[in-house]
């Protein structure tokens, strides 16, 4: 069973120090979460969150591009227009449609990937979330019961203003 504790830091450097020490003591990035009311940028290597958003967006755009080219090709061929043997599908006059739908693919993938990567709609509601105060950085640590006291001590030594145990909510 996992326990959660939260340390409140007024200084970003103290929070970064606490994260570094916790990582040295065997905590992984999944065990550590920082909460704040504004984005907090730590130096590289402190708490990196690798992202595949750019790759996903390009893939989404390519997928939409292929889909729209296929769709337009199919519909133009399906259009029973007498053309005297002239080609009915033309790439350039439909280029605007291809371009716009490709960009639509990029937009929708960005939105979808943001929701996925941020974990917004798939968060485990039983995991406690510390209440955030303005200009305070909260570091939530997931630990085993036998690691609890050591983690608490480490947070305090790193400069946490307060350290509290977070109670799990009923799912």
């Amino acid at each position: 069973m996992s326990l959660y504790l939260s340390g409140s830091f007024a200084d970003k450097k103290d929070a970064a120090q606490a994260i570094k020490q916790l990582k040295t003591n065997g905590y992984g990035p999944d065990d550590l979460t920082v909460f704040s009311d504004e984005p907090v940028e730590f130096p590289r290597g402190v708490l990196d969150r690798p992202s595949h958003m750019s790759l996903a967006v390009v893939s989404g755009a390519v997928l939409f591009f292929l889909a729209v080219v296929g769709f337009v090709y199919y519909t133009q061929q399906d259009y029973r227009l007498v053309t005297g043997g002239m080609p009915i599908f033309s790439f350039w006059p439909t280029g605007v449609v291809f371009y716009e739908i490709t960009m639509l693919g990029a937009i929708l993938t960005t939105t979808g990937w943001f929701i996925w990567e941020s974990g917004l709609l798939r968060r485990d509601k039983s995991i406690p979330v510390p209440s955030i105060e303005p200009e305070i950085i909260c570091l939530r640590v997931r630990c085993n019961p036998d690691q609890f006291a050591a983690a608490q001590d480490l947070l305090q030594k790193a400069g946490a203003k307060s350290v509290a145990k977070l109670e799990k909510k009923a799912a």
């Binding site: 909460f35 009311d37 969150r49 006059p93 739908i101 639509l104 943001f114 941020s118």
Partner: protein
């Protein structure tokens, strides 16, 4: 002069204050605007019932006020997303209090602009024929038609703009949800998607906003280019021009900036946000506006010079009508309000202020509306076949709908500013001057 450091709790209180309560003045203003918008809807209903003949559009001018309004509102929509995206990508810190107000203009202007192709349809109830769906007649939309280009471009831009407006609102609505009650609580909770302020969420949001800024920039440029190509693809006098797309994009940013300055000044005054929307912000926007005014002049000059030097008779007919003929009052008014007045008011440093920037912006909006009128009506009035020439005068239906769109825009903006902080709270973190 940079704004002084304001404590976070005061920032939040100041920016949330306009959301609480509804004043008598607010109700009266909103009621008036809604009444005008309703009048426009009645006029449109009358047109649907009686037929498109109640509008002033007649052979050969089939594109009158409706197309002028369409191009104008799509242009205004470039205020937000494009400007906000440019400022986001260049990490311009002064953008922070400006972006949401700008992005909201985009969303509402696009909604209004996107309605004009429908209003312009003779049989609006058949608009769904534009959607590609299998039907018994085995007909598909013609994807090579600029009308389909417009449909896809505007749909993409509207989707992107709404998302671009919504994403950075999530942290703010999550905070609002903690303090709201009743229907507002339900609305904010729904919109917050369970935002908790974790580093994963912030990282994902920042990445998404950077990517969206790049994408939306490309889409915004394409949208107004497509609107320009609606004209440039036709071999009509003074339309068939290779520079029409960039000319339209410049004009769109120009009118969008003017709309943004007016909106920001009204917000600043009515919501008492003088500490957040400072002369510094207006100064920067005014400089941008001046730059766009010069660019607009350059494009207008280049466009007219090549026609004059080419001396092609059909083009010279339209050119003459604009410069010294029956459209010359509109033309020279446009030059005065789009260039002469902004150049004096914004170019002379001593004269540059919030008030003069707003005065110049009002003039520019009038001038840019006239510019679209001058692009559409003279060319259609004086086609290549001289015998087909004609005149255009708008009917009360077109005038009513045009006026109603301005009222609808203002009403939508008023409602939005009562529901959400018009300045992004989380982005407006209290900075020390050296950090700025």
């Amino acid at each position: 002069m940079l704004p002084p450091t304001i404590p976070y709790h005061q920032v939040r209180d100041d920016l949330w204050r306009p959301l609480a309560g509804v004043s008598k003045r607010y109700v009266l203003t909103l009621s008036f605007l809604m009444a005008v918008a309703l009048w426009g809807l009645i006029a449109w209903g009358y047109q649907i019932h009686e037929g498109i003949g109640v509008a002033g559009i007649r052979r050969p001018v089939f594109w009158g006020f409706y197309l002028v309004d369409f191009v104008f509102w799509i242009g205004i929509s470039h205020a937000g997303t494009l400007i906000s995206a440019i400022l986001r990508l260049t990490d311009a810190d002064w953008r922070k209090p400006v972006t949401r107000a700008a992005e909201a203009i985009t969303a509402f202007a696009l909604m209004i602009g996107g309605m004009f192709p429908l209003i312009h349809l003779g049989r609006v109830w058949l608009f769904y024929w534009l959607f590609p769906y299998p039907n018994s007649r085995l007909l598909w939309p013609n994807f090579r038609s600029p009308l389909m280009w417009d449909v896809t471009a505007i749909s993409t831009y509207l989707t992107g703009s709404l998302i671009f407006l919504y994403l950075p609102m999530i942290p703010d609505v999550a905070q609002l949800a903690e303090h709201a009650t009743g229907w507002r609580l339900r609305l904010y909770k729904l919109m917050a998607l369970g935002w908790s302020g974790s580093d994963r969420e912030w990282h994902a949001l920042e990445r998404a906003m950077k990517l969206m800024a790049g994408i939306i920039l490309a889409v915004a440029v394409s949208v107004h280019s497509v609107v320009a190509w609606d004209f440039a693809m036709a071999i009509a006098p003074m339309w068939h021009s290779t520079i029409f797309a960039p000319y339209f994009v410049v004009g769109a940013i120009f009118s969008g900036l003017a709309g943004l300055i007016i909106a920001l000044n009204i917000i600043r005054k009515t919501m008492h946000l003088e500490n957040y929307l400072t002369p510094h912000h207006f100064g920067n926007l005014a400089k941008l506006l001046l730059l766009m005014s010069l660019l607009w002049l350059y494009f207008t000059f280049a466009e007219h010079l090549t026609v004059w030097y080419g001396n092609e008779p059909k083009e010279m007919n339209v050119f003459g009508a604009r410069i010294s003929g029956r459209f010359s009052p509109e033309f020279w008014t446009m030059v005065a309000v789009n260039f002469v007045i902004p150049f004096i008011l914004l170019g002379i440093r001593k004269l540059r202020s919030i008030t003069t920037a707003t005065i110049a912006s009002v003039g520019i909006l009038i001038g840019m509306w006239l510019e679209r009128y001058l692009i559409i009506v003279p060319t259609l009035s004086l086609p290549r076949l001289a015998a087909a020439s004609g005149r255009y005068s708008p009917s009360w239906v077109e005038v009513s709908i045009t006026v109603a769109t301005f009222a609808a825009m203002a009403a939508l903006y008023l409602v939005f500013s009562k529901l959400f902080p018009i300045v992004s709270v989380w982005e407006f973190e209290p900075h020390e001057p050296e950090e700025e």
